[in-house]
Symmetry: C4
Subunit: 234 residues, 4 copies
C-alpha cells in the first residue's frame, strides 16, 4: 500500500509535470490523487504555481467530510475533484488545466470530434462537453456542481470512465483522469495534442467527417482492449 | 517605504520577466513602476532590449515635470505611462508590449470578448479597445494622447482600473497595469493567454457568444471580490 | 558493411532526433533502418518514448518471416515498415510520426499541394494521401494493409520512391523515408515545415494555386537532379 | 576599415543568429555581407546548416566576376545577393530565409499590409511581393533573375531601399537587408513577427483596413526619420 508521503510525492510530481509539459501557466491548473484505503485525496494547494510545488505543500482532504490537514488551503477546485472520485469508477488521479486548444473548444461550446487515430488511440469517442450550469448552480456550490455536470455527461456515454478519460467543462476548460495521477497528466497532454490537431483539421475542412467506427475501434483496442498488442508486456 | 534603488531593481526585474515570458521581442515593450512618495516613476531606457536591462540603467522621471535623472533616455512611451499613473487610481506598475495575439486583436480593431473562465478570472468584462487617435492627436503630443485615450476608455467602463487591468490601443498593442510592476507583468501574460484562447475560439465559431454574467461574476469574485476564496490567506 | 550494432546505434539516434525535433510526443512515432545484407530491419520497441531509446533496446526483425530477436516487442507499426521496405526501391530508413500539421492534413483527407519552393526543394509534386482502408482491411492485418495502401499510392505516381519520400495515411498521419534513417528523419522534419506553411497559405487564400511546373522542377532539380548544384561536392 | 577576417566573423555570427532566432531550419537560408573597398561579398557556403557555420567556412566572392576564394561552394543564392548589392543603395548585409509566416504570405502571393505600429516602426509601407518569374527567367539564370525582380519591385516603390528593407519573392520566401549583416538579421526577425501578426489580424477580420498614413508615418519617423527620438543618442 502506498504511504501517504509517497502519494504526496506522486501528486507533487504530477503537478510539476503538468507545468513542464506547458499545459498550465502560473497557477491555472491542479492535479490530485486518491487513497481509498485512507479515505483521503491529496491535492495541490490553491494559488501556488504548479511548477513549484513540493510534496510537503500537498493538502490532504478527507473524502467523507472534506476536512483538510495541513496549513495550506486546497485548490479551490477541490469539490469538483471530490465529486469525480465518488462518481467515476476506477479513477485514481484527476487533472484540471486551462490548456490553450482544449480550452478553445470548451469556450466554443463544442465537443472534439474523433478525426483520426491519434484521438482514437486514447479516447473511445468524441471528447464530450458538459451542459451549461444554471444560474442557480453557479450561485450555489459552484465547484461541486461543476463535478456533477462532468459526471452527468460521462454517465450519459454509457462507457467506463477510464475509456473516456476527459471532458470539457463548457466555457471553462478540460478535466482529465486516469488510474493514477501520472496517467491523468498523460491524458491531459494527449487531449491538448488531439484538440490542436482537430482545430487545425477543421481549418482545412470545416465539414471534415469523423473517422469510421471500425478504424476508431481498431486503434482504441490495440492499446486498451482485451487483445491489446501495443507497448511491452508487464 | 521602498527605496529608489529597490524600485529600480523591481522594475528591471519586471522588464526581464517580460522578455523571459516571450511577451516582448527585442525592445518592443517596457515596464515602469511608481513611487508616489518620491514623486517619480522608474522606467526602462529607450531602445535597450527588455531581457538585458540592469537596475542601474533604469531611468527616474519626475511625475511633476517629466524631467529625468541619469544618462539614458527613458522609453519613448514614457508620456503614456505618466498619463496612466495620473488618471488610473491604485496603479503602481504599467506594462506595454506588442505581444502576438493581443496585438492582432488591436490591429483588427476588436475588443476581446469574455469567452470563458480564464478571462473572467482576471478581467471584469471584455478587454476594451481605444478609439482611433485623430490626425491632430497623432501629429501632436502622440505618446501623451495615447495615454489619454486609454484613460478615456477605462473611464467609460465605470469600474476601478484594477478590475480591468488592460486595454488594447487600436492599431498598436496592449497596455496592462497592476498594483506593482510584477502584477502588471502577470496581467500582460494573462492577457496574451486570453487573447490567444479567444482567437482560437472564434476560429471554431465566428459567432461564439460571450459567457453569461453569473459565471463571469462568480469567477472574477472568487479571485478578486470581497469574499475571495482563491489562493492562500496572507 | 555497417555492423548490426552500428545500425542499432543509427536507428536509436534517429528516434531520439525525432523527439528532439518536436516531431513526436511520448511514444507516437518510430524510426527503422534496414540491412539488406543481413536480411533484417532494426526498429524502435513498442510503447517506449522515442526520446529515451538506447541502441540496446532496438529490436531486430527478420525481413523474411518477421521473427524478432531480443526481449522487447517491436513497434506495433512494424508490419507497415516491412511492406514499405519490400515495395519501395532504394529506401534504407523509414519514419512514422503524428506530427501536428502533417497529421491535420491527413485528418482532413487532403494531399498537400506544392505552394512554394520550400516544398519543391524536397518533394517532386504534391505530398500524396492514401485511399481509405476498407473495413475488411482494418479488421484484417491492419498494419500490413497500411503499408500496402502507401505503396499503392506511391506506385500510382510513377516516380522513384526517393523523389517523393513521404505520404499521408488518411485519418492517421505521415510516413516518410530516405536512403538511410537520418535522411528519413530529415524528410519528416521538412514535411512538417511544408505542411505548416501550406496550412497557413490556405488560411490567407483558400483558393491558392500550386506553383508552376517550371519553378517546381527547377527547385527540385537544383537539389536532386543530375545537374544538382546545391550543397557541397562530396 | 573592417578586415576581411572580421567581416567573415560578422557574417558567420549573423548566420548563427538566424538559426538561434528560429528563422531558418537546417540550411534553408543564408546571410551575406559586403566589403565595397575590397570588391567582395562574404556568404555562407551552400548546404551547411546556418547554426553551425564558422568564420573559416565563409566564402569570399568577387563582386566583379563572381569568382570565389576558398574550398567551399558559396550559397546557391549568391547570384541573387550579387544583384541586390549592385542595385540597392546603402545595403551592407542581406538575409534570405524560408521563415514560416513570411513564406506563407509569399506562397499566397500577397503583400503584407501595414495593420499596425509594429509594422510601421520598421517598414515604410506594405511589404512588397515580386511579380512571378517567367518560364524563360526560371530556365535561364534563375538566381540572378530572382535578384532582378526584387530590385525591380523595390525600384517601383520610389523610396530608399533601407526604408523598405524587405521583399517577398512570390511562391518562395523573404529577402531582407540592412546597413550591415546584423541589421539585416534584425529585419528578418521583425518581418516574421509582422507577418505572423498580420496573418492573425486577417483571421479576425478578413477585411481589416491598413492603418492610416499619419499613424504609420509618425511611427516610422520616430525611429528612422530625421527627428527620430527612439533609442539612445550615439
Amino acid at each position: 500500500m502506498t504511504s501517504l508521503a509517497e502519494l504526496c510525492g506522486h501528486v507533487a510530481a504530477a503537478n510539476r509535470a503538468l507545468a513542464e509539459a506547458g499545459l498550465v501557466t502560473l497557477s491555472f491548473g491542479n492535479v490530485s490523487g486518491i487513497s481509498h484505503d485512507r479515505g483521503v485525496l491529496v491535492i495541490k494547494p490553491s494559488g501556488i504555481p504548479c511548477g513549484e510545488v513540493t510534496p510537503e505543500q500537498m493538502v490532504v482532504v478527507s473524502l467523507r467530510d472534506g476536512i483538510t490537514e495541513g496549513g495550506l488551503r486546497p485548490s479551490s477546485d477541490t469539490p469538483t475533484h471530490l465529486v469525480l472520485y465518488r462518481r467515476l469508477e476506477g479513477v485514481g488521479g484527476i487533472v484540471h488545466t486551462h490548456s490553450p486548444f482544449a480550452s478553445a473548444w470548451a469556450q466554443a461550446g463544442r465537443e472534439i470530434p474523433c478525426f483520426g487515430t491519434t484521438h482514437a488511440d486514447h479516447f473511445a469517442g468524441p471528447v464530450p462537453i458538459t451542459r451549461p450550469l444554471t444560474d442557480a448552480e453557479i450561485a450555489g456550490d459552484y465547484e461541486r456542481e461543476t463535478g456533477e455536470v462532468i459526471a452527468e455527461r460521462i454517465g450519459e456515454l454509457g462507457i467506463e470512465a477510464l475509456r473516456m478519460p476527459a471532458a470539457l467543462v463548457r466555457s471553462h476548460g478540460p478535466f482529465t483522469w486516469g488510474a493514477d495521477p501520472a496517467e491523468a497528466v498523460g491524458n491531459a497532454a494527449t487531449l491538448e495534442i488531439v484538440a490542436a490537431m482537430a482545430w487545425r483539421t477543421l481549418a482545412l475542412d470545416p465539414g471534415a467527417p469523423p473517422i469510421g467506427g471500425a478504424l476508431a475501434a481498431r486503434h482504441f483496442n490495440r492499446k486498451h482492449g482485451p487483445g491489446a498488442y501495443y507497448g511491452q508486456q508487464v
